[in-house]
C-alpha cells in the first residue's frame, strides 16, 4: 500500500476527503461560550454510554464530538444528530474531561440555524415564540388544567418587551431566512 493521505478512513469506513475537512472548525466551536471544553474530549464514550436518546436510537454524542474535532463542518451542521439531544445534561454531569457537550450542541445548533439547517420542529417553536410569546401557545385546555390544579391563570406575555428583545438579538432576521422549513436566501 502506498503512503498517501488522499483518502483517510474513519473507523466505520466512511472515507473522509480532504475537501470535507475544515481544519479550524473545532476552534470556531471551542472559542464560543460553552465550547471551551471541546478540545479536551478523549472520545471515551462515557457520554454515549449514559445518553437516554442513544439508548433507543443510533445517536451518539461521542460521534458528534468526533466529527467536530475532525473538522467535518458541513456533515455536522447539516446532520439530524445535533437535533436529537434532549438536553438532559447527563453527559455533561458525567464527562470525565468536563467537555460540556450539552452546551456544545447548543453552539452547533446556533451555527446550523444560520446556515439554513434548522430542524423543522425547532423552527415552528421559534415562530410560535415570535407570534405568541410562548413556546407552547396558551389554550383553553391549559387554562382548565391550571384551574383544576388551583394554579393562577397564565399571564399574557409582555409582547412589547419581547419583540424588542427579538429584534435586538437578531432573532427575527434569522427566522426571515426561512420560508416554510427551508432556507430562502
Amino acid at each position: 500500500m502506498g503512503q498517501t493521505d488522499e483518502v483517510r478512513t474513519q473507523r466505520d469506513d466512511i472515507p473522509i476527503r480532504d475537501e470535507d475537512v475544515e481544519r479550524t472548525f473545532k476552534y470556531e466551536v471551542a472559542h464560543q461560550v460553552g465550547g471551551e471544553g471541546l478540545l479536551r474530549c478523549l472520545k471515551c464514550g462515557a457520554c454515549s454510554g449514559g445518553c437516554p436518546v442513544g439508548a433507543v436510537t443510533d445517536y451518539r454524542p461521542r460521534k458528534v464530538l468526533g466529527n467536530v474535532l475532525l473538522g467535518l463542518k458541513d456533515l455536522v451542521l447539516s446532520s439530524d444528530d445535533i437535533w436529537m439531544c434532549a438536553a438532559c445534561f447527563t453527559c455533561e454531569e458525567r464527562c470525565v474531561q468536563e467537555v460540556n457537550f450539552t452546551d456544545i450542541v447548543t453552539i452547533l445548533r446556533n451555527m446550523a440555524v444560520k446556515q439554513g439547517h434548522a430542524a423543522r420542529g425547532y423552527l415552528e417553536m421559534a415562530r410560535t415564540v415570535v407570534a405568541y410569546g410562548r413556546v407552547v401557545p396558551k389554550t383553553f385546555a391549559v387554562d382548565k388544567m391550571r384551574a383544576n390544579l388551583e394554579l393562577p391563570p397564565l399571564q399574557d406575555p409582555a409582547m412589547e418587551e419581547l419583540t424588542k428583545i427579538i429584534q435586538a438579538s437578531g432573532f427575527d432576521k434569522i427566522l426571515a431566512l426561512y420560508k416554510g422549513g427551508d432556507k430562502t436566501q
Binding site: R40, C44, G49, V96
Partner: protein, 446 residues
C-alpha cells in the same frame, strides 16, 4: 532484649549510621534491605500490624502471573531477620526535627497490648476471644477477632489487640501460656536519631462508591479489584473460590470497568493510575485460569489500554488470543441490576463500532485508581515536604533526581511518589536506599 514495661530507648543508635524507612510495603522493604546490607542500621516504621503493604494482599502479579505471596514471603522474613533492621510495626511518625545527617524522629508506638518478645504467634488466644469484626486485610470481606493477625504471614508474627473493639474480658490473657498479653499497655512515644529518611508510604484506593452510577455499595455483584484479589487468593476469605456475593455462585460472565477514580477531571483525579489496566488484564486472565469450566465470558471495558512496560503488550495480546478476554473500547456510562437474577447490566458505547451495548454480567469488577494515603498530608507537613497537585510527594527533579524530595536527606520511593507497579516500586526503593546511604556516608553533607 527489653523487658515488658521497660521504657525502650534508642540512644544506642548513631544518626551517622542509621536511616529510617517510613512505610513497610514492597518499596520500603527494598529500601530497608539495601541500606541494611551496606552495614548501616535501619529503623523501619510501619503503621499497620505487619509489613508487606498491598502486595501482600494480591493473588498473582502481572505480567508473569507469579504468585505474589511466593515472591514476597521470603522478603518479609529477610527483613524481619536482618540483624541491622529494627522493625517498628503498629507505629507512626509524629514529628521530625533536625537536618540531613542528624534528624530526630518522634515515633508513636501504638499499644499492641502484646509483648512482642514473648508472643510466639501460636494463636492459642484467638478461639477464646468473643469479639469478631471485619478483617481490613481482606477488604472487610472476611472476619477476624479483636486479637488478631491480618494474614498468616503477618510479619513480625506477633498478634495485636485492637483496642477499639476489645471489651477487655481477659479471656485471651488466660489462654496465653506465654503471658504475652498486656491489656494495660499504653501508647508510647520514642525519639530516634537518624541521618537519613526514606518515605515509602504507598497508596490507597479511590473510594468507588463516589460513582453512584456504577452501583458499588448498592448492588452486591459489583465489587472492586482489591476485593477480587482477595476472593481469588487461596488465603483469602473464600479460600480462593471465585464467587459472587448475592448467591455464592461462580460467575459465568465477568465485566471489568476501567478508569474509575482516575483520568477524571470532574472528580479531581486527572492523572492516570498506571497500574489498573494491567492488573485488570491479569485478573481477567485469572478468571479463566481458576474457573475455566464455568467462566465463559470476560469483557474488559476501557478508555485507553496502557500496557506500557516490558512484556505488558505481549501479555495483553495473550489475554486476547489465548484466553479469549474481550476488550471493548468505551468508558462505561452506567450499570443497573437485573432484579430477577441480580446480574449487572453494563451500558456502554463500543466506540470502535458506535454500537450502544447493554451487556449483562454475573459479576462486575471496578478498577479503582490510586490516591495518596489520607495521612500523607499530615506526615509531609511534619517533615516540610512538598506535595504535587495530585497529592503525591514532589521530587527535586523528575528526570535526574527522581527519588530526592525537596528536603536534603529525605528520599521517597514507591507509590508515595506516584502510581507505580511492583517492579518500578522496587527499583525506586533501591534507588532511594542508595541516595540515603550516600547521605549517611557523607555525614549529611550533600
Amino acid at each position: 532484649m527489653t523487658i515488658a514495661g521497660d521504657k525502650v530507648t534508642y540512644d544506642h543508635l548513631l544518626p551517622s549510621e542509621t536511616a529510617m524507612v517510613i512505610g513497610g510495603g514492597v518499596a520500603g522493604m527494598q529500601a530497608a534491605l539495601d541500606i541494611a546490607d551496606q552495614n548501616y542500621r535501619v529503623v523501619l516504621v510501619e503503621k499497620s500490624p505487619s509489613i508487606g503493604g498491598v502486595m501482600a494482599m494480591l493473588d498473582k502479579t502481572f505480567p508473569t502471573l507469579d504468585c505474589s505471596a511466593c515472591i514476597l514471603t521470603p522478603r518479609l522474613s529477610e527483613v524481619a531477620r536482618h540483624p541491622n533492621i529494627e522493625l517498628l510495626t503498629y507505629s507512626e511518625v509524629v514529628g521530625v526535627t533536625g537536618k540531613a545527617g542528624d534528624f530526630r524522629v518522634k515515633v508513636l508506638r501504638k499499644a499492641r497490648k502484646i509483648d512482642e518478645e514473648k508472643c510466639s504467634g501460636c494463636g492459642d488466644c484467638v478461639p477464646h476471644c468473643p469479639i469478631e469484626v471485619p478483617n481490613e486485610f481482606d477488604q472487610g470481606l472476611g472476619f477476624r477477632k479483636a486479637i488478631y493477625i491480618g494474614f498468616p504471614q503477618n510479619t513480625p508474627l506477633v498478634y495485636t489487640i485492637d483496642s477499639e473493639n476489645c471489651i477487655r474480658c481477659g479471656m485471651c490473657e488466660k489462654a496465653c501460656v506465654r503471658e504475652a498479653v498486656m491489656l494495660d499497655a499504653q501508647d508510647e512515644e520514642v525519639e530516634i536519631p537518624v541521618g537519613a529518611i526514606v518515605v515509602a508510604t504507598g497508596y490507597e484506593l479511590y473510594d468507588v462508591s463516589k460513582y453512584p452510577r456504577l452501583g458499588y455499595g448498592k448492588y452486591r455483584n459489583v465489587i472492586h479489584a482489591l476485593e477480587y484479589e482477595r476472593i481469588i487468593n487461596a488465603a483469602g476469605p473464600t479460600g480462593g473460590h471465585l464467587m459472587r456475593f448475592s448467591d455464592g455462585k461462580i460467575p459465568r460472565s465477568i465485566g471489568f470497568v476501567q478508569c474509575v477514580g482516575a483520568r477524571d477531571l470532574h472528580k479531581g483525579v486527572p492523572n492516570c493510575s498506571r497500574i489498573c489496566c494491567m492488573y485488570s488484564i491479569k485478573n481477567a486472565v485469572m478468571a479463566f485460569e481458576l474457573a475455566h469450566d464455568h467462566v465463559k465470558d470476560v469483557t474488559l471495558y476501557y478508555a485507553d489500554l496502557r500496557a506500557f512496560g516490558k512484556g505488558f503488550e505481549e501479555f495483553k495480546e495473550m489475554a486476547k488470543t489465548r484466553f479469549g478476554v474481550k476488550f471493548i473500547r468505551g468508558r462505561v456510562g452506567e450499570v443497573n441490576e437485573n432484579p430477577e437474577n441480580r446480574n449487572i447490566r453494563v451500558r456502554v458505547e463500543n466506540t470502535e463500532s458506535g454500537e450502544f451495548l447493554e451487556n449483562e454480567h454475573e459479576l462486575v469488577v471496578i478498577s479503582p485508581g490510586i490516591l495518596p494515603p489520607r495521612t500523607l498530608r499530615a506526615l509531609s507537613n511534619q517533615m516540610g515536604l512538598q506535595l504535587d497537585s495530585d497529592g503525591f510527594i514532589s521530587v527535586e527533579h523528575a528526570s535526574i533526581y527522581p527519588v530526592d524530595t525537596t528536603i536534603p536527606g529525605i528520599y521517597v520511593c514507591g507509590c508515595a511518589e506516584s502510581p507505580k507497579d511492583i517492579p518500578d516500586s522496587v527499583a525506586a526503593g533501591s534507588a532511594a536506599a542508595m541516595r540515603a546511604s550516600i547521605t549517611l556516608a557523607k555525614g549529611g553533607v550533600q
